[in-house]
């Protein structure tokens, strides 16, 4: 599998002082794959995303993307090579329109200009269902539309891999269903998706492989339903059922 992989990370470790947040993690992503990441608070999920996207350099281990070692490249350079991400708290350029926000992404992350940039922006808007909002100032958007913009902005850079960090939080059921539709469409267009999410039931509607992390390591991975019913996974969230309680 690793030979055809779009991303192949081995022995990824991240320390903050004495604290080991990511401990020897191996992670492989196939082209066009949809992978979910779950795990209790402090498991290392966001740190894994940060090390994959280049927000932090790893303390040890390597990240290979499309056959090249990108471990020492910063986030902007990895973005230009095809890794995009969304953040837990969307931070668009509030005073700019939705379209302008995308244009910045297409130019800086996608190295596109003029008509080519505009065409990419239009495509990204359509995929995220926000064409009608193209001329709205970003600061006037509601929560779901901000999340749409966060994904459209990542798409405008032309990624082969998109990393989504808890994009489902705070949405109503109807909005969450809308979000699921968009992420399916992004994945359906051939972009590999890695999605960290606490709202498990929406995650399971999209991903075909689920990874559960705990204490900086991968605790279980595989078929999403099997992972979510794995006793070790349940114990990581809710404590052990066998544990004696005084």
């Amino acid at each position: 599998m690793s030979s055809g992989a779009i991303l192949n990370a081995t022995g990824l470790t991240k320390r903050f002082g004495a604290l080991v947040v990511l401990n020897q993690v191996d992670f492989v992503i196939a082209p066009g794959e949809a992978i979910g990441i779950v795990g209790p608070n402090g498991a290392g999920k966001t740190t894994l995303l940060n090390v994959l996207s280049g927000a932090y350099p790893p303390s040890a281990g390597t990240v290979n993307f499309q056959g090249q070692d990108v471990s020492r490249l910063d986030a902007a350079e990895r973005n230009r090579r095809g890794i995009a991400r969304s953040h837990q708290v969307p931070r668009p350029f509030g005073g700019m329109t939705v379209f302008e926000n995308l244009h910045v992404a297409a130019a800086i992350g996608g190295n596109l200009h003029g008509d080519a940039a505009s065409a990419r922006c239009i495509e990204s808007l359509e995929l995220c269902g926000m064409t009608r909002l193209a001329n709205r100032r970003a600061e006037t958007l509601g929560l779901l539309d901000r999340k749409r913009l966060e994904m459209a902005r990542a798409l405008a850079t032309g990624p082969q891999l998109i990393l989504l960090d808890e994009i489902g939080g705070g949405l109503t059921d109807g909005e969450a269903a809308e979000l699921v539709k968009i992420i399916r469409a992004i994945n359906g267009s051939g972009v590999a998706v890695v999605w960290i999410e606490h709202i498990v039931h929406i995650l399971l509607q999209v991903v075909t492989r689920l990874v559960c992390m705990d204490a900086g390591r991968i605790l279980a991975e595989g078929d999403p339903r099997a992972v979510m019913t794995n006793p070790e996974v349940i114990s990581a969230y809710l404590g052990s059922s066998a544990e004696a309680v005084s």
Partner: protein, 240 residues
Amino acid sequence: MSILKIDQLECRHGLLVAVRGISFSLAEGEILALVGANGAGKTTLLRTIAGAHKPAAGSVWFDGADVTGLRAHKRVQRGIALVPEGRRLFTDMTVEENLKVAGAHGRKGAWNLATVLEAFPQLKPKLKARAGDLSGGQQQATAIGRALMTNPRLLLLDEVSLGLSPLAVDQVYASLGGLMGSGTTIIIVEQDLSRAISVSSRVICMLEGAIALEGASTSLDREAITAAYFGLHRQSEHAG
């Protein structure tokens, strides 16, 4: 009569709706365990009951009175005390000062410096220590002691075990043992499900700001709570 009634409570953080129209009530002396994943709305709910977060809609009733508009310190005087997530002690003050500050602003009652130290004997040798220099377990004991010094009728305990060693968790629960069953109404947020079930009389499992499951602790099994916790029953509803 119920000591606490939450009616159609909705709480927001900016654009994000953290608590979505929740209603429940608690009888005096009940111990409610609140469980749920990250982002389910547990902390926001506790903070809103304590008056530390202003709700967007709905009401909080305490002892028959609508306290929704009352500020946090006024609720403390009526008998609501919060032990916040992360303890939030006055770190530059001593343990004794932390406890006495609370005692000076709460209700009169059985809890005072002597009785708190009796319940948390691990604090006795640390009275003059700076709160910021304590271990996690000692800080949690101080935070709970500080809440007790206000002589609460309703004690809200947020993430009691978070960041503590297993030994420290056992110690804190051993000290809480006397309190539970003493008539004080308690809402406890606890990630360890076995412990949450064993100390409580009732469990509410929250999911995405709403109540996903509620029942007497003795009537709910681990599988049912786990399914509600992850919202696993919801997947088939949305599938397609």
